[in-house]
């Protein structure tokens, strides 16, 4: 590891007048990436708003919310309640008009769309139509953020486990190239054409419906255990099937492509040289194969994570996992527009966050990355 750092920094000193420390490089890189990604998110969210508002849906949400708020506020006013019905209606209409003007709903769409963008970016997502959060709130932001941990626990854990497992198996197979296990993985790689939820259905049939040893879905038993350790164990128990499904759908293809990649790299001249020198095979693997391929591995892993994120709505629906994706599915069934739009915005944020995190990891492992967006020396 240390050898590599020094060798790569010599490359940089040749190119640059002033040598840069890893942290300085990383900091500058982070800031630049953060700014670019923020602009990207802004554009992404703006596109989402444009799509959502093509039929005027966001406008409708806003208008009905304003009317509802004003009606509720006026209902509490005794003077208002004393008015005859037509007068009351007139009062409400007048107040709604004032409020719409104040919020700029009478302005042209272009101006309004930027208002929405501001609301979306600050996560001011409005109020839901029917759905409530577990604490009883109708704030879309609360409904969504409450479910976020469940999604992060499931997808975070399984992606990390999957990453480690895939890497380990791929390295093992590249050492035992041509063994029956190697051939098995190659032969099974077409299985990865099916997404995780699809294997979920099979696994539920086998383990929940038939063998009855694992739950059909959900995150905790009913009622949830009170002891925090037993609670965690219970969650882990419920995570077995979803994790198995995710593993089944992606492990064969990733192992296959990574092992192929490792094999190509292990025929490089410098690896042959190291072998001839008598370097320990493990050390060769770590220093000469794994280290230089890590950036590529991380990129492919990032694309995998993003792909899995995209599938969250259906994956969580199949497993009844109380996460963000399932909220989106419920919102679709209840036709709860503010929640649908809000969830889409949150997903855009999560994707951007994933891309950002992986960019940073990429920068840490690949010393050639310099400010300017992933340019290679």
């Amino acid at each position: 590891m240390a050898e590599h750092e020094s060798s790569s920094s010599t490359v940089q000193t040749q190119k640059r007048a002033r040598p840069q420390s890893t942290w300085e490089r990383l900091l500058r890189y982070t800031v630049v990436r953060l700014v670019t990604l923020f602009i990207t998110v802004v554009i992404g969210v703006y596109l989402t708003i444009l799509i959502a508002n093509m039929g005027g849906y966001v406008d409708e949400i806003r208008r009905s919310q304003i009317r509802e708020q004003i009606a509720i506020r006026l209902q509490n006013d005794p003077a208002f309640r004393a008015l005859p019905p037509e007068e009351r209606q007139k009062r409400i209409d007048a107040e709604v008009a004032v409020e719409e003007k104040r919020l700029g709903l009478d302005k042209p769409f272009l101006v309004r769309s930027f208002n929405y963008l501001k609301h979306a970016l600050t996560l001011d997502l409005g109020r839901s139509e029917n759905m409530t959060s577990d604490s009883g709130s109708r704030q879309v932001r609360l409904i969504l953020l409450e479910r976020l941990p469940a999604t992060l626990v499931l997808f975070g854990t399984s992606q990390i486990v999957l990453f480690a497992l895939t890497l380990y198996i791929a390295l093992y197979l590249s050492r035992h190239y041509g063994s029956w296990l190697d051939r098995l993985f190659v032969a099974l790689s077409p299985l990865s054409s099916a997404p995780g939820w699809f294997y979920g259905i099979f696994l539920i049939i086998v383990f929940a419906a038939w063998l009855k040893i694992l739950p059909f879905g959900g995150m905790v038993s009913v009622p949830p255990p009170e002891n925090p350790i037993r609670y965690a164990l219970d969650v882990a128990y419920h995570m077995i099937l979803p994790m198995m499904a995710m593993t089944l759908s992606s492990i064969f293809i990733s192992v296959y492509s990574w092992r192929t990649f490792f094999l190509i790299f292990s025929s490089e001249d410098y690896v042959e040289m190291a072998k001839a020198k008598g370097v320990h095979p493990r050390a060769i693997e770590r220093r000469y194969i794994l280290r230089p391929t890590l950036p590529t591995i991380i990129t492919s892993f990032a694309l995998g994570v993003i792909g899995v994120w995209m599938g969250a709505p259906i994956f969580e629906t199949i497993f009844n996992w109380p996460g963000l994706g399932r909220v989106l599915f419920q919102a679709v069934q209840l036709f709860d527009t503010p929640v649908i739009v809000g969830a889409t915005v949150i997903f855009a944020y999560l994707l951007a966050l994933t891309v950002f995190l992986l960019d940073i990891i990429y920068a840490i492992v690949d010393p050639r990355v310099s400010v300017g967006g992933g340019q290679r020396a």
């Binding site: 992404g44 093509m54 190509i264 599938g311 989106l328 679709v332 997903f347 951007a352």
Partner: protein
């Protein structure tokens, strides 16, 4: 070059298997489109009681019987016009006629049927025909099921809804009345149906000379057809068959549209360079953070669920995918090659260079990618359908899975309902993936020895 590639491709057993699977799917598609035309498929799939009334609900495929020792009953359907159904019409007095019909059927199964229904159709001017339904077991026991006047011209008697029957036969509280009709010993702990010849006697009395009485007996089985039925009694076979051309067309069009457009855009970007290239690169980055599935869900909820509209949106959202970067890397290499310079020197136009000199070079990389991409779109369509955003009219595999899940097929053990469309999806996915991976090896020799 292509012939050589094909020859080499066939050396891979997985390619051969993949091709066979695809051939099978294509043959099924052609067969389906010819035998069940589009309009007919939609009519059948959206049909209600008038089309599927005589089909059992939630019945497993009939071939299940080949694998179990306990034979499940098939549906028996008889009408008063059928041969072998005895009719006896006679005048008793000036204003009284009898019209007796006796249905005889053989029952050799080990499980109880789902339902027994007798439909009575009568014509009359003032006084409706009166009918008594008598059930005769193989051992000669007679059970009087119902006495009813055919008011309104049509009456349907359903044994499973006849609570009085259960009490009359002294059945245990939660036993179906059908147990009383078929069991050897209805009070037994684990009743078994009596095998043999059953009879249903309809004793009709008519009060007018022109009055007529027709009837139909349906003993609903618990297995049906080669694919079984769903909660609306529809034959799943139709949806499974029609799902094939839909899935193939959807996957193929989406993959083709995405791949070709991605290729052209990256070629244009590389060739013109400068701000065009930069713009394409930036769009790709924005596209990476666009949540595709939620956007598709949004479009499905707000605008349209039509399969072909979804196809367009999916293509539009996938054009600027990861493919742009891979293509770009290859095109950058191609662009710097001397023959491009030569083409430029003889005055070839930009478009000529893009279409005749750059694009052909990337085809070998594109073809395996395209084939491997097809299943992901087939599954994307299924995903949307499972989320309840399937095409409103077309029967697709994903919609069957969605119906099955919504109606608790997994909890009730109706696995055939989920497994049949899943198996077809799986076969499609594996078939295209096997072909795609082999193509990859043929066209990318670096992978060949690995």
């Amino acid at each position: 070059m292509l012939r050589g590639a094909l020859k080499e491709l066939l050396r891979y057993p997985s390619a051969l298997a993949g091709l066979l699977v695809i051939l099978f799917l294509v043959v099924v598609s052609i067969y389906t489109v010819i035998t069940i035309p589009y309009s007919e498929a939609i009519r059948l799939w959206r049909g209600g009681e008038e089309i599927w009334g005589d089909v059992p609900k939630l019945a497993a495929p009939a071939w299940f019987n080949h694998f179990t020792s306990k034979k499940r009953p098939l549906t028996i359907k008889l009408t008063s016009q059928d041969e072998g159904v005895e009719s006896n019409y006679a005048q008793i007095s000036d204003d009284l006629w009898v019209d007796d019909t006796t249905y005889t059927f053989d029952f050799q199964y080990d499980e109880f049927p789902q339902e027994v229904a007798v439909t009575l159709l009568g014509t009359f001017t003032e006084k409706a025909p009166y009918v008594s339904i008598v059930w005769v077991k193989p051992d000669g026991t007679e059970i009087r099921l119902a006495d009813m006047a055919v008011e309104g011209g049509k009456r349907v008697y359903r044994a499973s809804q006849d609570e009085k029957l259960g009490r009359k036969l002294k059945l245990p509280a939660n036993a179906s009345p059908l147990v009383g009709l078929f069991a050897e010993d209805p009070q037994a702990e684990d009743p078994v149906p009596m095998k043999g010849t059953y009879q249903v006697r309809l004793e009709g009395t008519l009060f007018e000379p022109d009055s007529t009485l027709q009837s139909k007996l349906v003993v609903y089985g618990t297995v049906y057809g080669w694919a079984g039925t769903d909660h609306l009694r529809r034959d799943l076979g139709i949806a499974l068959l029609w799902g094939t051309p839909v899935a193939l067309a959807f996957g193929l069009l989406a993959a083709l549209g995405t791949t070709v457009l991605t290729m052209l855009i990256s070629a244009i970007g590389v060739w013109y360079g400068g701000w065009v290239d930069a713009l394409i690169q930036r769009i790709t980055e924005v596209n990476l953070v666009l949540p595709v599935l939620p956007i598709l869900i949004m479009i499905g909820v707000f605008y349209t669920r039509s399969l072909w509209a979804m196809l367009g949106v999916i293509i539009a959202l996938s054009i600027f995918g990861a493919g742009i970067k891979t293509n770009r890397a290859i095109f950058l290499q191609v662009k710097s090659q001397p023959y491009i310079e030569a083409a430029r020197a003889y005055g070839a136009s930009d478009w000529r260079i893009i279409f005749f000199y750059m694009v052909p070079r990337i085809i070998p990389t594109i073809i395996p990618a395209l084939v491997t991409l097809i299943p992901s779109f087939v599954f994307l369509e299924a995903s949307l359908a499972v989320l309840g955003l399937g095409d409103p009219v077309l029967p697709t595999w994903g919609k069957i899975i969605n119906d099955a899940r919504d109606n608790g097929a997994l909890y009730q053990g109706l696995f055939y309902w989920v497994l049949e469309p899943s198996a077809l999806l799986m076969i499609t996915g594996i078939g295209f993936a096997m072909l795609g991976f082999s193509l990859d090896r043929v066209f990318n020799p670096r992978l060949r020895e690995l």
